[in-house]
């Protein structure tokens, strides 16, 4: 080639002119000078490498130089395109192409960089990726070594979340029957969150305002960025081993989706789900539901809301106890009143009963008296008859009972007189 390529001064392709023999000796070639010089010395001191058959470049050298130049010319950058031919290789690396309507480039994600990507992209997914342009020397193929990747929109996060949710569901951790009730009045609330964030401060101020007798224990953990999931898991495990808390709040203040990502880590969700005490998730984000929200016994929208759930309001509880006291007193009073009423009623009934009985008895006594009276000889005497008895008291009821001269007693209605028979027994 004799024509200068990349004539424009700002063209990133300019270093490619390296192999343009016409400019080979010009002072414009500064990249990568030392390698160049070495190559010249090693091979053919007087000739520019590749400028003549005698100093032809080995392909490995060519690819090596090309890679050096490409890597030097491009800083890591974000690119966008559609994923195709995605393959997760057994060695842990991901291989795929990024393409648009007319072009494509091979891409690789090394396994060590995969942890920073929330989920494997699917073919057809529109993504933005941050990568370093390089050459795969074995094939002379240009490729992007990608270290960060996200779907355009939230596709990838949704996918990661769906996968993790399926995982947890399969473990039975999303079963609504697992949800436990919070204690009405905890003694100690443990809070796993950042020591520096506003979340802990918010929780403490709400608890102090509502019910200051509840103690709050901070178990600090990094809640965003690399290593955050492991720290949160560690902090939850610490609370569990300690065993002094009867409620556990795990959370952080609001943030962007990436900042909340630790709370979507299945390891964190699992640790929270297996905590022996009731749990509250407090990840400050109204829109997204995190995995921690799903497995916690109670989901609160913010740390302050979590604190409101965790402890009762002292004033409310006092009012409730007072209401209990009042109700109890009222019901006892009513009970005592009803007992008295009943006693009075019983007394009245008894009284009535006795009176009725008395009257019945009196009536009966009168009846008896009347009957007795009717049967009594006195009654007969009252009608004008008299009873005659001899001195022995025997009733003299026949005329023959009266021999002449017999003394006898004659009983009349109002007394007895002495008498003597003066005939011979015949009237």
């Amino acid at each position: 080639m004799t024509q200068r390529r990349g004539a424009s001064e700002d063209s990133p392709a300019e270093p490619l002119d390296l192999f343009d023999a016409g400019d080979a000796r010009s002072a414009r070639y500064v990249l990568p000078l030392d390698r160049y010089t070495r190559a010249e010395h090693e091979r053919l001191p007087d000739a520019f490498p590749g400028s003549a058959p005698g100093c032809a470049l080995a392909i490995s050298d060519l690819n090596f130089y090309a890679r050096e130049i490409l890597e030097g010319a491009f800083t890591p950058m974000w690119v966008r395109g559609e994923v195709s031919d995605f393959k997760a290789h057994r060695n842990g690396h991901w291989y795929f192409c990024l393409r648009d309507a007319t072009s494509s480039i091979k891409c690789v994600v090394w396994s060590r960089d995969r942890t920073r990507i929330v989920a494997a992209p699917d073919d057809g997914m529109q993504v933005v990726a941050r990568g370093r342009l390089t050459v795969y020397p074995a094939r002379g193929e240009m490729q992007l070594v990608i270290t960060a990747l996200d779907a355009v929109g939230d596709g990838l996060h949704r996918k990661a979340l769906d996968l993790a949710r399926e995982l947890l569901a399969a473990e039975g951790l999303l079963d609504p029957a697992r949800k436990r009730r919070l204690p009405r009045l905890p003694r100690c609330v443990a809070v796993v969150t950042s020591a520096s964030g506003a979340a802990f401060h918010d929780i403490v101020s709400v608890i102090r305002r509502r019910c200051a007798s509840v103690s709050v224990v901070l178990v600090p953990a990094k809640v965003q960025g690399e290593g955050a999931p492991a720290e949160i898991v560690g902090a939850i495990a610490r609370v569990v081993r300690w065993g002094g808390a009867d409620v556990l709040i795990v959370g952080r203040g609001g943030g962007a989706r990436e900042d909340l990502w630790a709370f979507n880590d299945p390891r964190v969700a699992r640790a929270l789900a297996h905590a022996p005490m009731p749990t509250i998730s407090a990840v400050g984000h109204e829109v997204d539901v995190t995995l921690c929200d799903l497995v916690a016994d109670v989901r609160a929208a913010t740390p302050s809301a979590a604190a409101e759930c965790a402890v009762p309001s002292l004033a409310d509880e006092r009012a409730m106890l007072a209401a209990f006291a009042l109700t109890m007193r009222k019901r006892l009073t009513r009970r005592v009143d009803s007992a008295r009423d009943r006693a009075e009623y019983s007394a009245q009934r008894l009284h009535r009963g006795v009176r009725a009985l008395t009257e019945r008895r009196r009536a009966r006594a009168e009846l008896m008296a009347a009957r007795l009276h009717a049967l009594s000889p006195l009654a007969t005497l009252a009608r004008g008859f008299a009873v005659a008895r001899d001195d022995d008291g025997r009733a003299l009821t026949r005329a023959s009972d009266f021999p002449a001269g017999l003394p006898f007693a004659l009983t009349l209605r109002d007394g007895t007189i002495r008498a003597r028979a003066d005939g011979d027994g015949r009237a």
Binding site: P183, V214, R238, R241, G244, L321, F324, T327, L332
Partner: protein, 73 residues
């Protein structure tokens, strides 16, 4: 943990209040329930009115001991 939690006291109180409303309740029994209710109220109130607690920081030493220290907040 106290022997009876606040929650248990409340649950018993609810039961007592319900029982007190029963018409067939013996008066002696009602009085006994009321007395117990007063004791339960006292217990619940004591749990509620415990002294103000401190804000603490939980740390674990290398040998697995736990230190709960005051946390200035």
């Amino acid at each position: 943990m106290s022997e009876r939690t606040y929650e248990q006291e409340l649950a018993r109180l609810e039961q007592i209040v319900t029982d007190l409303e029963r018409n067939d309740l013996e008066l002696d029994r009602a009085l006994a329930l009321f007395e117990e209710g007063v004791a339960r109220l006292r217990g619940a109130s004591a749990a509620l009115e415990r002294a103000e607690a401190q804000v603490k920081l939980l740390t674990e030493t290398g040998d697995g001991r736990f230190i709960v220290s005051d946390h200035g907040d």
